[in-house]
Structures are given as C-alpha cells and as structure tokens.
C-alpha cells in the first residue's frame, strides 16, 4: 500500500487522532496560560520572586518527558489527565517568563497615571497593564504551543490521546506492513497541526491586541 493510499484508507482515524492531539494541546495551553500568567502577575514586581518563578518553571522543563509521565501515573492514572498535566507543566516557562517581561516593559509613567487617576491596583492591572503586556504574553503562549505539539506525542505512552498513538504504533512494528506509513502519517500530522496552529496564532494575536498598540 502506498503512503497516499494508506492515508486515504485511514483518513477517519487520522482525523480523529489529530483532533484529539489538538484538543489535548489546547486544554494544556489554557491551563498553563491561566497558571503561568497568574504566577507572572504575582511575581513581576519582585526581582527575587520572579527569578524563583522562572527558574522553577525552567527546571520543570528539563525533566525528561517519560520520567515526568511515570511520576504522574501513580497519582493520576492513565489517559488524558496525566498527559494534560505534563503538557501544562512543560509550557509554563515561556508563559511565565513573557508575562514577567511584558509587565516589566509597561511604561512606569502609564502605571503612575493610572493610579493617579484613581484606578485601584487590580483595575490598573486588568484595564491598563495587562492589555499593554498582552502582545508579549501571547507570544509566550505561542512558543509553548509550538513545543507542545511535538511533546504531546508522548501522551501515547500513558494511553493518552493524539497522533503519538499512530507514530509509536508504527515505530514499534517497523518492518511490518504499513508500519512506516503509520509513523510518517503521524509525524506529518503533528507538523501540519503545529504550522496551522501557528498561523492561527497570528490571527489570535491580532484580534486580542488593541489597535492602538499596532499603529
């Protein structure tokens, strides 16, 4: 069976796996964005605490993925949960680092004007500082997304979702019929997803950033 015939024959399965892959990445990203931005907002003003936060999320990123999953299985079992958590942990660093950098780059004069006009700290954060730091923060999320599409393949090891299942099924049976086709189809699928998502990010960034920052 040629590669194209293989793809055509298994299209339904491949699309389902790709959809799962996308979903697991998006869920992990959303969680990491909420957690990472919160950590950034809480620590950006303190040199020491923001250093602790970035160093810790950096250290988490160096844990080998299989080891991290192995650690998570006893707590969360198999399937989606450990996969999502592992991916969220891996995407923290770019998000935390960019949140801190983005908030630090906001002109202090603008912050002073905000509090001088009577905005509370919280209001100033949501209405002024966060929107101004947003282009930098969303870039951090984008970098995380790029990483996650590749890393998400290992979810298959914990019986999780995604194209990893296709790739590892192929790799473990190399030499058998269609094994190589499987591995290639899975890998190509990951690459295509990642590129498509990246393109979507350009639009997301555009729509979520004030026009005043683009003029």
């Amino acid at each position: 069976m040629s590669f194209l015939e293989y793809v055509e024959y298994n299209l339904d399965d491949l699309v389902r796996l790709a959809a799962e892959h996308l979903l697991v990445v998006v869920i992990a990203l959303l969680i990491a964005a909420v957690v990472g931005v919160t950590i950034g907002v809480l620590t950006w003003q303190s040199a020491r605490w923001s250093e602790v936060a970035t160093a810790t999320s950096g250290a988490l990123l160096t844990i080998p993925s299989l080891a991290l999953l192995a650690l998570l299985i006893p707590i969360f079992g198999l399937g989606w949960t450990p996969a999502v958590i592992a991916l969220a942990i891996y995407s923290l660093l770019p998000i935390v680092r960019n949140t801190v950098a983005g908030l630090r780059a906001v002109d202090p004069a603008v912050i002073e004007a905000a509090s001088g006009m009577g905005l509370s700290r919280r209001r100033s954060m949501w209405q002024v500082q966060m929107p101004l730091a947003w282009p930098v923060i969303i870039t951090g999320v984008r970098v995380s997304a790029q990483m996650l599409f590749a890393i998400a393949t290992i979810a298959a090891y914990v019986a999780g979702p995604g194209l990893g299942n296709e790739i590892f099924a192929g790799l473990s049976r190399l030499g058998a019929a269609n094994a190589l086709n499987k591995a290639i189809a899975g890998t190509l699928g990951v690459v295509i997803l990642a590129l498509a998502f990246d393109a979507a990010f350009i639009l997301i960034r555009r729509f979520t950033t004030s026009r005043g920052l683009r003029v």
Binding site: D107, A109, V110, E112, A113, A114, S115, G116, M117, G118, L119, S120, R123, Q127, V128, P131, L132, S210, R211, G212, L213, V215
Partner: protein, 351 residues
Amino acid sequence: MSDQTPTLDKSRTQLAAPAAHGVGIELIELTKQYAGQRAPAVDKVSMRIAPGEMVMFLGPSGCGKTTTMKMINRLIEPTSGQILIGGDDVLRLDPSELRRRIGYVIQQIGLFPHMTIAENIGLVPRLLGWSKSRIAERIGELLDLVGLDPSVYRDRYPRQLSGGQQQRVGVARALAADPPVMLMDEPFGATDPITREHLQNEFKRLQQELRKTIIFVTHDFDEAVRLGDRIAVLRERSEIAQFDTPEKILAAPADDYVASFVGSAAAIRRMGLTSVADALRVVRLGPVSTPAHGITVELESSIRDAIDAMLRAGRTQVDVRAADGTLAGSLAFDQVCELWARAQAGEPDVR
C-alpha cells in the same frame, strides 16, 4: 491674603475672585523622609492655597516639588504632617476615591496607548458611573476646550498624536470628571518653546473660565509668571523661599536665591504683567500727540509693549487706542516710571 487685594491686571482679579468650583488646600508641616536617606526630601512644609487659585511650585531639580505634589493625592504617603482639601483630612480618605476627585497631569503625559483618545478621557467618568451619553458629551466638550476637533481626534490612538496634542489630551483627561483640584507636574515640559507658549496661553484662558484650585510644578520662571496667581519659590527640601504674586516676586525678591530665579530685566518682565488699562487706575493719560505720529498701542496691551513701541519709534510717548478704535490719549515714559515707583513703594493698588 494677597490674592484678595485688588490688582492691576484684570485677568488676575477675575482669577482671584471667589471661585465657584475650586476648594482650598492646606498643607500643615508636611514632611517626607524616604527610607535610607539622611535628610527628608520635604521638610515641614506649610502652605495655604485659596479656592480657585493657581499656585506655581518653582524650584531647581531635586528640591522636592514632585514629592510635595504627590503627597497631596497620596501617590506618596507623607511621613508626618497634614493635608486638608476643602477642610477634609486627605489622609483619612480612601486613596482611589480621593484621586478620582483630583485631576492629575504627570510630566511624562502617560496616556494609555491601547485606548482611544475618547477612552482615555472617559475613563474616570466611567469609574464614577456616569451614563454613556453623558460621557460621550463630556469628551466632545473637553476636546473642544483644549482645541482639538472631536470629530478628528476622538477615535485616534495616542501614538497617532504629536507630543503637544498628547499633552492637551493629558490635560483634558485630568479635567474629565470636573475635579475641583488639579495637580500638574510640568504638563507642558515636552514641547518646543512656541507650542509651549501657545499651550500656556490656552491654559490661562481655560483657567479663567474653570477656576480650579491648581498646583502647577515648573522649572521655568517665565511660565510661573505667565500662569500663576502666586508662585512658591522652593529651595532644597521644599523649603519655601518666597510665596507671593508674580508681581511682588519680580518687584521685591525676598533674597538672593529668589533673585537668581528672577534673573535679569525684572522690571521689564513685570511690566509685561500690567496692561495699559490697568495702569489707568494709577496714572492719567495725557493728550493725544500732536502732530499725530501714528505710534499706538491698544488699551489691552501691556506696559511692556508700550515701552517697546516708544523705544522702537525713538519717542517718549505713545498714543493709546480704545476698543472702539478712537485714540483715548497718550502714555508717556515718565508715567511708566511713576507707575513703577509707586509699585515699588508697595502701594496696595499698584501691585
């Protein structure tokens, strides 16, 4: 208090009249000691500012002007002392609510780049719960007031404006909720001298209508003279070297330090504050020159302009044209000298 005595300058008299909008400010032994510094940045400053009065803080860099000002809206917490605004003890009020009632223009302008001009100006009214239509109306009104066409600028973003235009928006934003008190930290600092003078003149006209109680920080003596009802000349630690009307400071600097700010040509500069019409309260115009020589000034011109006209024509008198275009009489150089002498003598009517 000096702002209640009659003055030569008509516009100043209007300004000093009891204000409908402003409230008084009183600083009592106000002190700020920054942590880790030997001397306080502001040391026991006491000052009383009348409702509707515009007071200029003038002093060298680092003397504590900004620190003093920011204690008033509590961007900086005083170490000790008291601040009363309209009789209320500021230190007992909620800082955010207090600040919504004090217009604040910072030196670096600080417009919000992600908001349109309209959104920048409408922010505080929105916080105060004004209706949408009232906010929209107010934005148009304020843009008109600061000389920006609402239909053109309303929906622009700050980065699409020039520095001078941004400063006007900064002033409009501070005025948005019609606060009785304004704090302005070198609001026209970032503009070239010509735009600056233009903004100063516009602001002066504005203040004559609004009569807010204003504290205005500046490095620039000419700006202080042009705009202020009174000038507080400050030295290190915000110590008040002299707190008086521009006329008095020009005529009688309290000491060498104040004199160094006044600089040269004090007499001429002071004559720039008095109009011919004002001078008529002290001196009488002579007969119109015969034969007519065509050198005239308006009643509203300053004495400084009159002296300038005399010098340029090489004559010792100049004819004065009334509002209806007829010649009202002539002003002679001797009379200018008499005016100056009586002002120097401190006659209450000739300040």
